[in-house]
Symmetry: D2
Subunit: 289 residues, 4 copies
């Protein structure tokens, strides 16, 4: 998109539209739209319910644990499992870690999310406190330096650090190197850092996304819905002659249709509203005005 | 609100503003706003995150099971527990029924919700199919005639019917009376209907909201957040001289502040963004535009 | 049994046999057997798999939470729920409390049970430590003075104390009275004790079994299996002319038959071993000798 | 052991004792004891609580899912996951599969186990019925030909077959070959069989134990307890001069001591009985005789 709008502008007239898969991309495109710089319509596939709700929670949730197991072969049952960040990814990771028998601790900066984590039965506390308790730490915040020197120095011998949220900045590796006297690779994606206090910390996949680096990323059952959004949105653009150069939501019909197709592929049938039910719903809405 | 805007309009000049707790009320007020009939500002407390997210899921979830237990003293473990509707209430009920050892079945008309229920490990099927399997049925749809004659006639002997979603119309009681040869009250909030095919069906609390009728409604830990929204929004209106006669969202600051106060009352501390983290977040957003 | 063996011995010749439902009773009868004082055969129904495994875990598990809800209408989600004792009752209570969204803490004296609780994802710690964290405490140990003065004095304002294990001695009420300046009944089965440090503690059902006192005890789906054991064991004795005056286990056939009948009543079918499978099992056992 | 007792009998006088890790081994040794063929004492490490309870449930439970993920990278959430056999291994697998968001179905031949699975919230049905519903099948029975031709022919396209219980006989591979028109290896440990009805079935790890073949077997946190039993039992034999040539249980003190050491290594503290509690327990037992 960037190239088309800068170096290859002569191609722009031939482009009817596009789609965007990522959060970052959508942010960028909305800024272009605001500046009236966007020259063709784009559908923000990232924001489809069948995309963001499923791949973050179920995809990242499972594949993060998968990555940790492949890198360490550690037993999750009975471990204090610290999830930093309780967005959709964090929710998925926490849910699956509990499902594997771990005792989950959540750290957050947002009080609403912290409260939701609490109500879901997880312990919530500051990272400085969790640092002394945790056996496994996974960051999923989208921010930087979540786990820092002052936390690492208080961790238990053998603590495991992984990131599943963003770039390799959530675990501060400069800090980790600084307080370590030794580093050695134990097995693929598993580096042992000997801290100057004598304890060992284990960093997975060099702090990169552990589900991509140490496992295989999202299962195909999650990606298929993203790709279906891409395909059907491209078709939508192709069939539609009057879209202005804006960022569009995925049409609700496409989103729902993908959910229907997915259910069908799983041999699952659902109900339809009866006439009476449709009428009741509309009467209700009318009735209350 | 209705009276003030119709019979007692002379009082309107003295009213600075108001708040509205319920979904229905908010719908009605938005319609009034649209018609320019609304004469003072109203804050839609119902839509606060600390209101709708917590009372529906955790409040209704728990109190619905509580109502069923008080009315029947049935063992939930091992039962096929059918939840009709997978909105926030249905999500809460399903989660808690599974937590009590039941095997949960969800019925839905919305494919996105149906898919989410599936991914959460619940069986999803049409009500006609669930009717033959379920031991306990709870409706939470906000619509009418969810459980009808054709379903009741296929139910197992001893099946239990309850409603937790809306008025007493979700289980069609006219249908139930029509196919029954006998009705008797077994204990408070528990009526036995002998169907003409010889089987017994049990209706809880005459189809009214089972969590209110047979238990005690939301626990105070849920209501306190709603009331905090009411109080702080009234204060907000009192301190604010320039609100137009519209329906307003609960200010984000109030919503977050309530979550903070709630966490504090539970002795739970959370993190704050460091300067570096704040900068990273803003740089990131800037950087990508 | 006691009367027959002491004051009414003349009736003993007419008694063909008996059954015993409780742990205590079985202990007593085994002692009588040892002393050759037992004059007719007794089947220890208490020890049937279909009795002890189901009523303690599923029956007490559910009904304990039911009792707490009826006595307090408290929200369980987000609470620190302390279970003292991780026998079958404690296991059931812990499982159900987690299922309702609580964060469960287990206290134990037995390291094997403590380890099992840990592996099941619960926090394990001494009661002295749990005392400062817990919102709700339930004892299920079969021993005395589990919660004592020194624990009560460290509890949070508003902590709830209940017993579900044994007589009303697990929460030391003499201690509670001693450190309180005031006691008042708030609602049925809920007494508020104002501790001299100014905090309020709430004792449920006067420390008696909360599932019996504040709820309705085991659901019928649990009791039916106990009673089936009683009935079928009596029949077994009636049909059997050569039983010596000893304490007998419930015959395995009866235990399994009750499980089969129960499954049948729930419309659940299971597999049978094929000829090949039976042969393989026996060959395997033979083959390895 | 076999060699010592047959070809190298001259060494027997020098052997003070031994330990046995496996179920099979223990069975064989008990037979030898019965025949008075056993010439030195053996401690059956397999039967220690800290061995069989933890490695089967937590070890096999986790590593079976790990093996399935490594072999297939399939999403577990929303899948119908069939566990054949509800012994300790099956219990662990079912618990973890539910924890990953699957909807679990259990097949059993034992009605007591079938009932327990039901009460734990799982669907129980014959394998012939589960065959048509399941997405993933895992056998853990210790018997042969659990999944046979007649089941395979009714399975859904894409169904996955794995074994985690015993030798590679639980999924009948002769049957699978017979009804297939084509077999191809898709990726390591994943073979696709094209059934003559056109559907594809996927067999993991050639039907061998999927947790050993496709993952890394039990995590070290499980094995350490087995090895501790080995070591402490050998020490026990070395220090004990009067053991007869029998098969012995692991002394309860050793079993409990290992649990204590394990808890210590996890920084977990537990309570001790007070004097009053010890007295109460003994009085109680005395009192009731």
């Amino acid at each position: 998109v960037g190239t088309l709008h800068s170096k290859r502008r002569q191609l722009l007239p031939k482009v009817k539209g596009g789609t965007e898969e990522t959060t970052t991309g959508v942010l960028r495109l909305r800024a272009m739209e605001k500046d009236r710089a966007l020259k063709y319509p784009i559908i923000a596939v990232n924001d489809a319910y069948t995309k963001y709700l499923f791949d973050n929670r179920y995809g990242t949730g499972q594949s993060t644990l998968d990555g940790i197991l492949r890198a360490t072969n550690i037993l999750l049952a009975g471990k204090n499992f610290v999830v930093c960040g309780y967005g959709w990814c964090g929710k998925g990771i926490a849910m699956r870690a509990q499902g594997m028998g771990a005792s989950v601790i959540v750290t957050e900066v947002n009080p609403l999310r912290a409260l939701e984590a609490t109500m879901n039965g997880f312990r919530v506390m500051p990272i400085a406190e969790a640092a002394t308790i945790g056996d496994i730490f996974v960051t999923a915040t989208g921010d930087t330096s979540i786990i820092r020197k002052e936390h690492m120095q208080r961790m238990k011998d053998g603590a495991i650090l992984a990131n599943s949220g963003h770039f390799n900045v959530e675990v501060n590796q400069k800090d980790l190197a600084e307080i370590s006297s030794r580093k050695r690779n134990v097995r693929p994606n598993l580096d042992e850092y000997t801290i100057k206090n004598g304890r060992a910390l284990y960093l997975l996949a060099e702090g990169r996304l552990v589900n991509l680096a140490a496992a295989e990323g999202h299962p195909s059952e999650v990606m298929d819905m993203s790709f279906a959004n891409q395909a059907l949105c491209v078709e939508y653009i192709a069939r539609n002659d009057r879209m202005e150069p804006k960022v569009y939501e995925v049409p609700k019909e496409i989103d729902e249709n993908i959910a229907k197709l997915k259910l069908g592929s799983m041999h699952i049938k659902i109900d339809k509203l009866t006439k009476e039910q449709k009428k009741y719903l509309s009467t209700w809405e009318l009735g209350t005005t």
